[in-house]
């Protein structure tokens, strides 16, 4: 799907490094057969949804969500899971998770107006009270049992986006991030669904931990490492 998603390559490379075999595809059958599905994305929400419809991937993605196998959304991929977005008019998303996608507005830090897109390294934290960094880091793993396991609270990750998701259920928010007076959801987890607004494949060794966790989640006893496969639902047209 040529909707400007240029980052499936780096997702693939991150998976390689942690020993996860991936196939880049836009084929519905592949998505249905996958052990896990990764939905990356860069570019506009409406173009992405259009492309997903055109390739008949909307139902397979909803099926993947319901099937219990890991479904991982990255950047635009997180936004696409939501009910709707206000980018360039109102558009319906996959509706896998209830929530809206809205634009950063009126971002200030003192007298300075902050820039959009939100570009660069910003901190992800488990609790809103961790915003000011005043809280002590919990002794135990703040994200144990999730795809963020093993990552320290208040770690910087790499972001590049102008819109952010507002999931209806606050219980699904895995991490928050703060930018210019706006606190927003930087990652979610709901059962088998994990999605992050940042790019874990561009966030250095810390970000690779997310992929490592995914690889670990897919490993089953008796199955050799080389056979775990995750399918990246996008196009190889780029």
């Amino acid at each position: 799907m040529d909707y400007g998603t240029g980052n499936f390559l780096s997702v693939e490379r991150a998976c390689d490094v942690v020993g996860l075999r991936t196939v880049v595809t836009s084929d519905a059958a592949d998505v249905r057969a996958a052990d896990a599905v990764i939905l990356p994305g860069v570019g506009s929400f409406s173009c992405a949804m259009e492309a997903l419809h055109e390739h008949g991937l909307v139902e397979p993605l909803r099926y993947a969500a319901e099937s219990g196998k890991p479904l991982v959304g990255i950047c635009l991929g997180l936004q696409l899971l939501m009910t709707e977005s206000s980018e360039f008019g109102r558009h319906r998303g996959l509706g896998i998770l209830e929530g809206a996608v809205v634009r950063f507005q009126n971002l200030h830090q003192g007298p300075r107006t902050l820039k959009v897109p939100h570009t660069g390294w910003n901190r992800v934290f488990r609790n809103p009270t961790d915003v000011l960094g005043a809280g002590d880091a919990p002794l135990s793993d703040p994200w144990a049992g999730s795809l963020m396991a093993g990552i320290q609270n208040n770690t910087p990750m790499y972001f590049a986006h102008s819109f952010f998701a507002k999931p209806r259920d606050p219980g699904t928010v895995l991490s928050f991030t703060h930018y210019g007076g706006q606190m927003f959801c930087s990652s979610i987890q709901h059962g088998n669904i994990f999605a992050c607004q940042f790019h874990p494949e561009r966030s250095g060794p810390t970000g690779l931990q997310v992929y490592r966790n995914l690889a670990a989640a897919l490993r089953r006893p008796g199955i050799p490492k080389e056979e775990t496969r995750a399918f990246t639902a996008t196009s190889a047209a780029l």
Binding site: G4, G43, L114, P117, T119, G120, Y158, A160, T177
Partner: protein, 309 residues
């Protein structure tokens, strides 16, 4: 502010080599881009920037090979620029592993190209690069071809326009300051940062850590690209190639106080700047420390190897 300022090592590439343009001298080979890129990644680079300084067809294939190899090993954003003229050029660079492309000449000659590129690949993949030269009346004119060709276009008008067309970032290089080690053009950066709604990357002129601090605080840069100051701060023989240099004079009246990337970042943090820095990064060359003083080097003088203060 919770969003850190980005420090981006910039590597100029000619064929298979990492080079540095020296004012009035031409080009000096420093080593291989892959080795430098890997070193910077391991030492906390927030992003990496490869600029093709030759921009020929031969050079392009060489550059894409370097991008392919580098992007297998480094997991931070990689921007590639230099001679990208068409959507196909951009597509190839991204397919080789670049996350963003920097476009200058093609964009200023035909601004719609920015809209087309942003539409096709996403704004966050498109950086418009502007080379600026100050005119006697205090205005700034945009140049192309590494500061050699005039365009008569006003830098601030163009920057604003490029952002409206969909550029995700504007990278601004002062032609007057680049390669001199005399610091960034603060006024240029600040005026641009105040007028455009997208992040601004300051590029060209850093000779010591204070310059980076100034362009962040007074210049309001969101990111800073640094070349010589970091490259010369590395131990010679980094990759065993015979092209590495040990001398630090940079031509003309320029002086340089080379610094390692961790040293630069630690220093910025100490000055109260929000910069992504880990206290004890893995140092590949920790047995040799380069003296990082504020006195600067005189022309031809080699730095003394002492513990860094």
């Amino acid at each position: 502010m919770s969003l850190s300022v980005r420090i981006i090592p910039r590597m100029d590439i000619k064929g298979p080599n990492l080079v540095k343009g020296i004012q009035l001298e031409g080009v000096r080979v420093l080593g291989t881009p892959e080795a430098f890129a890997r070193h910077y990644y391991e030492n906390g680079a927030d992003e990496l920037l490869f600029m093709d300084v030759v921009a020929s067809l031969y050079g392009r294939n060489s550059l894409l090979d370097i991008v392919r190899r580098t992007s297998r090993e480094i997991f931070v954003p990689l921007t590639v620029g230099g001679g990208l003229r068409t959507l196909d050029d951009i597509r190839e660079a991204l397919a080789a592993g670049a996350d963003k492309v920097a476009i200058n000449t093609a964009a200023i000659r035909r601004p719609e190209f920015v809209r087309e590129a942003a539409g096709r690949f996403g704004s966050s993949a498109v950086v418009v690069s502007i080379e600026a030269k100050r005119r006697p009346d205090g205005s700034y004119e945009a140049y192309t071809n590494n500061g050699r060709e005039r365009t008569e276009v006003d830098v601030f008008d163009w920057g604003q326009h490029a952002a409206q067309l969909g550029a995700g970032e504007i990278m601004i290089t002062s032609v007057d300051r680049e390669g001199t080690g005399r610091g960034f053009d603060i006024e240029l950066t600040r005026r641009l940062a105040e007028i455009v709604s997208v992040p601004v990357v300051a590029c060209g002129g850093a000779g010591k850590a204070e310059h980076v601090q100034d362009v962040i605080n007074e210049g309001q840069a969101d990111a800073v690209a640094v070349a010589s100051m970091l490259h010369y701060g590395l131990q010679p023989g980094l990759d065993g190639s015979t092209g590495t240099n040990t001398r630090w004079p940079i031509g003309g009246k320029g002086t340089l106080t080379p610094c390692s990337l961790p040293e630069l970042k630690a220093w910025l943090v100490k000055q109260g700047i929000n910069c992504r820095y880990a206290a004890a990064p893995s140092q590949v060359y920790s047995d040799v420390q380069i003296h990082c003083s504020h006195s600067g080097l005189r022309h031809g003088e080699l730095p003394q190897r002492r513990a860094c203060v």
